[in-house]
C-alpha cells in the first residue's frame, strides 16, 4: 500500500514537472498586416513566412524554453484599423514584440503606440523611408525590407544611367506609400539632373487610367516609373495596351505582386523592379525555404515572395534577439537587436550585426537586385546578379 502510494506520488510529481515544461508560458508576438483587400497577397505571404519560421523555432524547442505564440490581426491596410490593432495587441494581448506592416501609412500611424510602450516593432515589408526615422531618440522600430530611398535610387539608376531614358513619367497612387515614394523618386532623379515630365496619381480601386496615361503621352514620356500596388499597376499596363502605347515599366518592388502579374497578363511582361528575394533556389537555404513554403501552403508560386522571405527572416532575428536578451523585456530585446552577437542565416541574406543603435535598416543598397516579369513569374533581370559569389549579398558596413 505504502509502496503504491509512493509510486503514485512519484508519478504525479513527474507528470506535474513534465507538464509544467510543456505548458510553459508562451511568448506572445503580435502580427499586424492586411489579410483582406488589395494588399492582401503581401499580408498573407508575410504571415505565412512568419508562421513557417515560428513553427521551425518551436519545433527546435522555442526561445528560452518557451514556445512562440503569434497573435495575428488584420489591419485591412487602413490606418485607423492599424491603430486599433496596435492598441489591442499592446494593452489586451500584451505582446512582447510585434511584426508587421505592409503599408507605410498603417505603419506610420500605429508605430507610436509601440514606441510609447517600449515594445519593439520589426517592419517586415513596408518600405516608406520615414518609418525608421519617425522616432529619432531611442527608436524601437526596425526594418527588414529595402526602404524607398534605396529602391528609388535603384529605379532612377536603372532608368537613367543604365537604359538612358530622359523623360520619365511617374505614376503613383494616392496613399502614403505612393506619395512618399514619388517624393523619393523625384529626389533620386534630381540627383541625376532629370526632372519627370509628368506626375500622375490615382486612387486605390481606380480601374481606368486613360487620363493619366494620355497626360504622360502628351508630355512625350519615354518610361513609366511606378509607385503603387498590384491591381492598379495592372490597370496601368492594361491601359497602355488599350491605347496601343507601350512604354517600359520600371517601378518599386510591388511590381512583383501576383495581382499585378496575373491581371496585366501579356501587358505586364518585361516590367522590372528591385527585389531582395526572387523565388529561385540560388542557395541551399533558399531552396529549403521555398520547398517548405510550397509544401506547407500548397502553392507553386509564392504570391509575394519578398513578403514571405522578409517575414521569415524577421522572425529569426527577433527570436535570436530574445534569446540573447535572456528576457522578454522590450528595452532588452531592443538592445539585443542593436548588438546581435550571433550570425543569423536568413533567406534574403546572412545577418551579421544587422542593426546598431543608430541604424535600424537591415538591408543596404547592394543587396537587392532587379527582378523582371517573364512568363508570369519574377526572374532575375540579369541572372549573373544571383550566381556564384553574388548569390548572397551581405550588408555593407
Amino acid at each position: 500500500m505504502r509502496f503504491a502510494r509512493r509510486t503514485m506520488m512519484a508519478l504525479v510529481a513527474t507528470t506535474a514537472l513534465t507538464s509544467a515544461a510543456f505548458a510553459a508560458d508562451p511568448i506572445k508576438i503580435g502580427l499586424s498586416g492586411p489579410f483582406t483587400g488589395g494588399s492582401a497577397s503581401m499580408g498573407v505571404s508575410m504571415r505565412d513566412g512568419v508562421r513557417l519560421a515560428v513553427d521551425e523555432i518551436n519545433k527546435a524547442g522555442g526561445v528560452l524554453g518557451r514556445p512562440l505564440l503569434l497573435v495575428e490581426r488584420d489591419d485591412e491596410a487602413k490606418n485607423d484599423v492599424g491603430v486599433q490593432v496596435a492598441q489591442e495587441l499592446i494593452n489586451k494581448e500584451q505582446v512582447v514584440a510585434t511584426m508587421g506592416y505592409i503599408n507605410t501609412g498603417v505603419a506610420l500611424a500605429s508605430q507610436r503606440f509601440y514606441q510609447e510602450a517600449e515594445i519593439p516593432v520589426i517592419n517586415n515589408v513596408a518600405t516608406g523611408t520615414a518609418i525608421t526615422k519617425q522616432f529619432p531618440e531611442n527608436n524601437y522600430i526596425f526594418r527588414m525590407s529595402a526602404n524607398d530611398v534605396i529602391q528609388s535610387g535603384m529605379i532612377a539608376e536603372e532608368a537613367v544611367k543604365k537604359r538612358g531614358f530622359k523623360a520619365p513619367a511617374i505614376l503613383a497612387d494616392s496613399t502614403n506609400y505612393g506619395q512618399l515614394g514619388q517624393k523619393d523618386l523625384e529626389a533620386a532623379l534630381a540627383a541625376m539632373g532629370i526632372k519627370p515630365v509628368a506626375e500622375e496619381k490615382f486612387n486605390i480601386g481606380d480601374t481606368d487610367m486613360t487620363s493619366q496615361l494620355l497626360r504622360a503621352k502628351a508630355a512625350n514620356a519615354d518610361v513609366i516609373l511606378t509607385y503603387a500596388i498590384g491591381p492598379e499597376l495592372a490597370q496601368i499596363a492594361n491601359g497602355m495596351g488599350k491605347l496601343g502605347w507601350h512604354l517600359p515599366m520600371i517601378g518599386s518592388w510591388t511590381l512583383s505582386m501576383s495581382t499585378f502579374i496575373d491581371n496585366a497578363g501579356a501587358n505586364g511582361e518585361g516590367a522590372v523592379m528591385p527585389q531582395t528575394f526572387i523565388q529561385s533556389p540560388t542557395t541551399p537555404k533558399r531552396k529549403a525555404f521555398i520547398d517548405a513554403y510550397q509544401a506547407a501552403y500548397k502553392v507553386d508560386r509564392i504570391p509575394s515572395p519578398i513578403s514571405a522571405a522578409q517575414g521569415y527572416d524577421g522572425t529569426l532575428l527577433l527570436a535570436a534577439a530574445i534569446k540573447q536578451a535572456g528576457s522578454t523585456d522590450g528595452a532588452k530585446i531592443k538592445a539585443a537587436l542593436e548588438n546581435l552577437n550571433t550570425k543569423v542565416e536568413g533567406v534574403v541574406t546572412i545577418y551579421d550585426h544587422p542593426f546598431t543603435a543608430t541604424d535600424h535598416e537591415s538591408i543596404t543598397a547592394n543587396i537587392p537586385v532587379f527582378g523582371m516579369v517573364k512568363n508570369g513569374r519574377v526572374v532575375a533581370e540579369n541572372p549573373a546578379d544571383l550566381e556564384g559569389a553574388n548569390a548572397v549579398r551581405v550588408k555593407a558596413h
Binding site: 489579410f35 487620363s211 493619366q212 498590384g230 495596351g241 488599350k242 496601343g244 495581382t259 497578363g265
Partner: protein, 303 residues
C-alpha cells in the same frame, strides 16, 4: 496642346465608364420608383453577378470545352436569373419588413448590411484578390479614325442600352410591367385597383439586381473582377442616380455618361488628382438647385 483626337478618346472612354454607372443607377431607380426604397448593396449585386458569371463561364469553358465567346453567351441567362434571385433575397430579408413597419431608414441599414454580408461571402468563396475576367471579345483595341476602343467597351455600351430598352419595353408591353408602372405612379391606388403591390416590389428588386448582375459581367473583362469590385462603383452610381433623377430611367443614363465624361476630362485637363471632384460638385449643385435630379419630376404633395 489641345488635341481633338485626345478629347474624343477621353469622351469615348468616359462614355463606356459612364454607361456602367448608368446601368447600376438604373437599378437604383427601378426600386425607388415602386417602393421609395433602394438597395444600397447595389454595388455588391454587381460584384456578385460578375463573380458568379466568371465561375459559370470558366466552368462551361472547362467542362464543355467551349470557346470563350460561346461560354460567355451561354452564361448570360444564368447570370440574369442569379441576379433576379439575389434581388428577391435582398427584398425579402431587408426591405419587406421595413416597408411593412413603415420604417423610415430601416431599409437603408438592412440593404447596407446585406451588402457587407454579400461582400464577405464573396471574399470567402472567391478570395480577396482581384483577378482577370476572360474577355469574350478580342482584347486588341480597334482603331476608328485614330481613336482606340476596346471591342468590349462597345459591347458595354450596346449591352447597357439593350438591357435598359428591354426593361422599358417590359414595363410598357407586359401586364407585369404595367403593374410596375401603376405601383410607381401611385402605390395606394394601384393596391386598391387589385395590383399585388408587394409582389411588384419584389419584382422591381429582382429586376434591379438583374441589371446590376448584367452590368457586372459587362464590366468584368474591362476592369478585372474581385470581391471589392462593388464598393466604389455602387457609390458613384448612387451619385449618378441623384444627379439624373431617381424617377427617370433616361435621366440616370444621361447622368452616368455625363459623370463618366467629366471625370475623364477633369483628370486630363486639370489634374489626375482631381478626377473625382466634378462628380461630387455636380451632386452638390443638383441637390442645391434641382433636388429631384436633372430629369426627375418634383413630387407635389397636396396638403
Amino acid at each position: 496642346m489641345f488635341d481633338v483626337q485626345t478629347l474624343i478618346q477621353l469622351v469615348v472612354s468616359g462614355i463606356s465608364v459612364g454607361m456602367i454607372y448608368g446601368v447600376v443607377a438604373f437599378g437604383y431607380q427601378l426600386t425607388f420608383a415602386t417602393s421609395s426604397t433602394l438597395n444600397f448593396g447595389q454595388g455588391e449585386a454587381l460584384m456578385l453577378g460578375s463573380l458568379a458569371g466568371y465561375t459559370i463561364m470558366t466552368q462551361l469553358a472547362a467542362h464543355l470545352g467551349l470557346p470563350m465567346p460561346l461560354a460567355y453567351a451561354l452564361m448570360l441567362p444564368f447570370v440574369l436569373i442569379f441576379g433576379m434571385l439575389q434581388g428577391a433575397i435582398v427584398e425579402r430579408l431587408g426591405v419587406r419588413q421595413a416597408i411593412k413597419t413603415k420604417s423610415e431608414a430601416g431599409w437603408i441599414m438592412a440593404t447596407i448590411a446585406l451588402g457587407i454580408i454579400f461582400k464577405n461571402l464573396a471574399e470567402n468563396i472567391w478570395g480577396r484578390d482581384t483577378f482577370p475576367f476572360p474577355s469574350p471579345l478580342p482584347e486588341e483595341a480597334i482603331q476608328v479614325m485614330g481613336i482606340r476602343i476596346l471591342p468590349m467597351e462597345v459591347l458595354i455600351v450596346c449591352g447597357a442600352i439593350a438591357l435598359m430598352a428591354a426593361v422599358e419595353l417590359f414595363n410598357r408591353r407586359s401586364i407585369y410591367g404595367k403593374a410596375v408602372v401603376a405601383t410607381s405612379a401611385d402605390i395606394g391606388a394601384a393596391g386598391l385597383m387589385g395590383v399585388n403591390t408587394a409582389q411588384v416590389i419584389t419584382l422591381s428588386y429582382a429586376l434591379s439586381s438583374l441589371t446590376a448582375a448584367f452590368a457586372g459581367v459587362l464590366v468584368g473583362p474591362v476592369t478585372l473582377t474581385g470581391a471589392s469590385l462593388g464598393s466604389a462603383l455602387g457609390l458613384k452610381a448612387f451619385a449618378v442616380a441623384i444627379i439624373g433623377g431617381l424617377n427617370s430611367g433616361m435621366g440616370v443614363v444621361v447622368g452616368g455618361v455625363l459623370l463618366g465624361i467629366t471625370d475623364r476630362l477633369t483628370g486630363y485637363y486639370i489634374s489626375s488628382g482631381y478626377q473625382d471632384v466634378p462628380g461630387l460638385v455636380m451632386l452638390l449643385l443638383v441637390l442645391s438647385f434641382k433636388p429631384s435630379g436633372l430629369f426627375g419630376k418634383a413630387k407635389i404633395k397636396k396638403v
